[in-house]
Amino acid sequence: MAKYHIVNLERSPRIPKLIDALFDHMPEIEADRAVLLTESYRATEGEPMISRRAHAFRHICENLPITMRDNELVVGSATKVPRGCQVFPEFSFKWLEDEFDTVDTRAADPFHISEETKKTLHEVYKYWDGKTTSELATAYMADETLLAMEHNIFTPGNYFYNGVGHVTVDYAKVLKIGYKGIIAEAKAALEKCDFGDADWAERTAFLKAVIESCEAAITYAKRYAKLAMDMAEKCSDYARKKELCQIALNCAKVPENGASSFYEACQSFWFIQMLLQIESSGHSISPGRFDQYMYPYYKADLEAGKISPEFAQELMDCIWVKLNDLNKCRDAASAEGFAGYSLFQNLIAGGQTPEGLDATNDLSFMCIQATMHVLLPQPSFSVRVWNGTPHEFLIKAAELTRTGVGLPAYYNDEVIIPALISRGLTIEDARDYNIIGCVEPQKAGKTEGWHDAAFFNMCRPLELVMNSGRDLSGVNGDGVQLGPDTGDVTRMKTFDEFYNAYKTQMNYMLKLLVNADNAIDRAHMERCPLPFESSMICDCIGRGKPTQCGGAIYNFTGPQGFGIANMTDALYAVKTLVFEKKVITMAELKEAIDHNFGEDISDRMAEILTTNEIKRLGAAGKPVSENIIRETFKAKKTQGNSSEFQRARYRKIRALIDDVPKFGNDIEEVDLFARDVAYTYTRPMETFRNPRGGQFQAGLYPVSANVPLGAQTGATADGRLAFTPIADGVSPSAGKDTHGPTSSCNSVSKLDHGIASNGTLFNMKFHPSALEGDTGLENFVALVRGYFDQKGSHVQFNVVSRETLRDAQLHPEKYKSLVVRVAGYSALFVTLSKSLQDDIINRTEQTGF
């Protein structure tokens, strides 16, 4: 008998209806939560912050408008309109007020906002001035840090302006004992508190907040029970009436109590998932190992004859659709860094049990099937791969890859488990890891990982080396001394001297990054502790404090660096051309870089640079005339290239650089050099500590920020032109890996993925022909296996032809549902900005020869 039941279950006709309804409306901003939150805050001035947070959550759960969408089997909606979003003024609000009039027309992730909502929010916002986490964080940062951020060395925008999220709570626990069980635990802990305890005040306030939050969640579910019953009474369609009655029964029972069926477990799961995103605006709230914690309920129902695989599949499909119903509005700049309306709710299947046995079960296959049935960006679906992963599971995953939806992402247990152990996890916890957000591994229900703590642009410190620590070449380019003065680059005698200057700039900037993150961390601790989330994270109840204050067992901060490929190619080119072969001097190279290798920049960038320059002139009290503006624009546009002769000289230098071997072609010397370059980021990072008592750990991935942050970065010595995208993740620079996918994989695997324990991201793009037929699938699986044998950590694939993507750019109306892989997530292609679309199109496309 086969070990797994892997017949392809048909898609229920309900699912396409749910999907269509999802895309009926443009995403919309709703004000209800912000109003309720503010009402509560106004009424609780002076109380402990943790209590105020719990009161506010209760007030929201009791009064937020509730909606059930047509045809739903699993209910609970955060907004009246599908894919709408609530706003979270406790974290930041000024940006939205500033963008009220542009948010519905902007290129990345537009949201509709009604005039009435604007008015309501405007009123609400009056309360929040000076009270947000972002304002407190700013106050806590060093001046040097703020200056570095202003000059785009790094951006901690994610948690600076929003909640943290990036967590997988202990779903299994709520499914098993319900919030009633957690309340009982908190009450027991409360009883143990002694009046004489040093932390009595903090502890009791926290435990009471946990109890109040859990009760609020129960109340919220009961409102749905009542709504379903009311709707059932009015419903004339018998079949739907029956469904509504069942929904009412489910919501009356869970999440208050433990689930006693798979259906109840699904409903309970959904309330947890949704309410976490009502409490705070943090994204990447990741369901994690759904196939593991849901399986006992499925198995029991199946054995008792209470459920058919078909119905279980339909329920899962419903959840998959609902994960796309949640949404979040970010500020315009962040929206480009996280483009595609993504909430990064990562759900993972397969892998090992805590005991180290293979964990694949029927639900693992059904997770793949659900993703095939909905073909939507959420959940960010991942699979775990280890030496014992069943072949049939990977073949099924490859079939999903072949659909072109960019899912699943593949993760390598053989790298990630030891990496997590090296960060202090027990072996059982490490084996039980799941992925948060894009690529960040952690142990569910025990971790506050701060996984997406900042983007660090590794190209910028090299620009500082070229200009003695001053910012002359970035989009700001105002000549301010940002980093240490590492000396006149043209006088450097050896490559080591040059490389050390880079490391000096790196180390300095990394400290400032840590300074920024820790300031933000402190601000969340003080202003936005999250009692509801903390009720599901071990050992908050035991320690008597929320996750934001160190209640979790494992605490990390994981900022991600990107630009490895550019810096490898750049430093290697300098080493080869300037110091070894001596075919060009540093002065010549610098001149060519300063002149963008003889090329113009785009009008749009030239306009931005001109505006910045004119602002500076104005601020300095210098005269600004039409003529000066025109001249400035011309100088910026041409990058100071005044003659064809001059351009030709710089282009020749770029051609020389082009001929130097590049990362991504399985050239051992270059690839080992890349490994060392990555260490300039990953090694210093692990020496820092955060206010929650945890360690910093590096990630190497860009989300989609390599495009907007590339637009802030001048030309680099790898021949990359000014303001163009930076290489994504640990992938080779686009178009520079020319020896096929195995060579790219071999190169990327030469990096030390283990030390980047906050995750690495490797994007590959295949032409659909490469996965044709059964042999296409077999060879694809062999490629993933071969890469993982060499200790690669993660890989993901776009399987859409370049022609298709080009056509989708021209005719977006024909490709409304085309989903592509962006970075650690998939998104609807047509919702991405043009520059990000171009970046995806330009990635190297692999075929089978």
Binding site: H739, P741, T742, N746, E778, N779, R785, G786, G848
Partner: protein, 266 residues
């Protein structure tokens, strides 16, 4: 590196490309080593730079590139084994193509022997238009012979490839009795061999005479066009369009009617 066979590792040959992640020429994920020099001059040849043994200059994307260089077996195998993890996982290995690898038998057999020492699956693409004694040397070293049989009529064969087919067919008969695995491959060239009868004759020969059970028909394509221009040569096929999918499907059925398993592409 396995160094027990220093003599083999030092054997020199002339190649012009090593292509990774090849999935259409033999089982699994393979690396193809392209050897320089060929006996035939097929009008449709998509690798015209492979034909002459002498290195040549070809314009590629506006840049001059020298095609053809000498390499030792040791150097070649060093590149090939970099993809060992993928061969292991897919049952793949090395494929010699060309050109014609039988034109450089010392190098080819040395490379194949060393490949076998590494446990790689071995395949060659060949026409076997050489004396039998040479073919014989390859038999114990090759897991899969991908052998071209382009036409059953010798005069027409000669007209389009400059070489008659008697030796090829004779070698095919002898090889079929001794090879571990023999696959017959036919490039389907409009105006040359793309009629049902011509293909049927080849299929019949393969299945009945040779006793081969697998055949690949490869549709003519124009990807070599730029290379001819880059070499300063004229393209012998003019504007002839590649055969369409339905036609290939039809021809596949014609071949399969003999009883042979016939696939389009590799």
């Amino acid at each position: 590196m396995i160094d027990s066979n220093n003599q083999l590792l030092a054997v020199k040959g002339r190649i012009f490309d090593i292509q990774k992640f090849s999935v259409h020429d033999g089982p699994g994920i393979r690396t193809i080593v392209f050897l320089k020099g060929c006996i035939l001059r097929c009008r449709w040849c998509c690798n015209p730079e492979s034909q002459s043994y002498e290195p040549e200059t070809m314009l590629q994307n506006g840049k001059k590139k020298t095609i053809g260089y000498d390499a030792t077996v040791g150097e070649v195998i060093g590149t090939v084994v970099k993809d060992m993890p993928y061969y292991r996982r897919s049952g793949g290995g090395i494929t010699l193509s060309g050109g014609e690898c039988m034109c450089q038998p010392d190098f080819s057999t040395a490379l194949l022997e060393v490949s076998r020492d590494y446990g790689l699956s071995t395949a060659i693409e060949t026409t076997c238009a050489v004396e039998w004694a040479t073919v014989e040397r390859f038999i114990p070293l090759v897991d899969t012979f991908l052998m071209d049989v382009k036409h059953m009529d010798s005069a027409k064969h000669r007209e389009y490839t400059t070489v008659p087919n008697e030796l090829i067919l004779e070698n095919a008969k002898r090889l079929s009795k001794l090879a571990k695995r023999l696959v017959v491959r036919v490039p389907v060239i409009p105006g040359f061999n793309d009629t049902p009868k011509e293909l049927h004759d080849i299929a019949e020969f393969a299945y009945d005479t040779l006793g081969v059970d697998e055949m690949h028909i490869l549709p003519y394509h124009r990807l070599g066009y730029d290379k001819y221009i880059g070499l300063g040569r004229s393209y012998g096929m003019g504007d002839v369009p590649p055969p369409e999918k339905p036609k290939m499907e039809f021809l596949r059925n014609v071949c399969a009617s003999t009883g042979i398993s016939c696939y389009i592409g590799g």
